[in-house]
Symmetry: C2
Subunit: 208 residues, 2 copies
């Protein structure tokens, strides 16, 4: 049986019910941990499910930051230092990654609280040692979305570390083989099972 | 074995290799078909993997549109009419959905070419009858990302149709039970296996 909801039905939903409902509607989401430090070097770690590919050249990824959420320390740090890391969440680290979404005090390190390990490379922002796919990012732009006072934070990929074995011959990364997970809504995590890669689509191939 | 790639390594990648490589780095993506009509009522259908949740109240979803890609007719139609549909791709319709990414001529309907069925409700834009989760959207804002001349298209959810059985008691939608799929990179589709929902994270719960 199907249900249809219109604006007036959404309007009367209890706030938390509506958050769960609407958060699931865009489809599956990525799961990344953002590692930052503030100007004094205090570490922060935050899970985000809104990372989205913006372009390959330059290599840009955006994510959405809500006002007054747990990511606020992350955003302040990114604006202060211009640098951050993105670290894929894999199936073996879901509980620790989710715990980073708790509202810790400003100078509490989510690394310490979650048992995840900071890993420093050439830059000032810490990676998550447990992650298999790790990106170092430079802030490029913050766009304000006036409609709901969110920010769309755009960064350029500076460095990528990943298992050599997941790189296909044509450059595709088999992220499922690195056990990267998908998220739906606010709190459900999913492993994946590939249905395979499809050929570049061309017109006049007949109905699939 | 791990591999590390820096800016100079990305810079020398062949264009198509780099597209595959970078497109996989943000993590898993949503899979939605966008249904539109132009001012004369000609239908268009396009798959997008960049839909991202922006907020629950108002209920906003954004997606990214590259210049001169197959989505250009979609964007022109959205700007002309202000309305579009988002339709989750499920496991039984992956091939047809992917085929909609071919570069068809302007007045060719991707519905006809892919075998997917237009379904009209109260609005002018067609849903995809085969989809189990269908949203009717009103255009709210187009943000230009100057860094790479992409557009971030923001719409507000006007109507939602979905199987009643996937609505959890607290409003969470069990989209896996509707066989919604995830995408990685440009051409790989994935079904999912839930690892379960996690409780709202609070500080001082101990290391997970």
């Amino acid at each position: 049986m199907q249900s249809t909801f219109r604006l007036k039905d959404l309007a009367i939903m209890e706030q938390r019910y509506r958050a769960h409902f609407v958060n699931s509607l865009s489809g599956f989401k990525s799961a990344n941990l953002i590692g930052t430090v503030d100007a004094q070097g205090n570490e922060n770690l935050s899970i985000v499910s809104s990372c989205v590919h913006l372009g390959a050249d330059p290599a840009l990824i955006g994510f959405v930051s809500r006002p007054n959420t747990v990511e606020r320390h992350t955003i302040e740090n990114i604006k202060a230092t211009g640098e951050y890391t993105l670290n894929h969440v894999h199936a073996g680290m879901i509980n620790a990654a989710h715990q980073s979404s708790a509202r810790y005090a400003r100078h509490t390190s989510e690394f310490t609280e979650t048992g995840l390990t900071p890993l420093y490379g050439e830059g000032i922002a810490p990676f998550v040692a447990q992650s298999k796919i790790r990106l170092y990012m430079s802030l490029r732009e913050c766009l304000t979305i006036e409609l709901n006072s969110t920010e769309f934070i755009i960064g350029e990929i500076q460095q990528v570390t990943l298992p050599s074995s997941i790189i296909a011959e044509d450059g595709k990364l088999l992220i499922e083989n690195a056990q990267s997970v998908a998220v739906s809504g606010l709190d459900e995590y999913h492993t994946t099972q590939t249905t395979g890669r499809l050929a570049y689509a061309k017109p006049n191939q007949g109905i699939p």
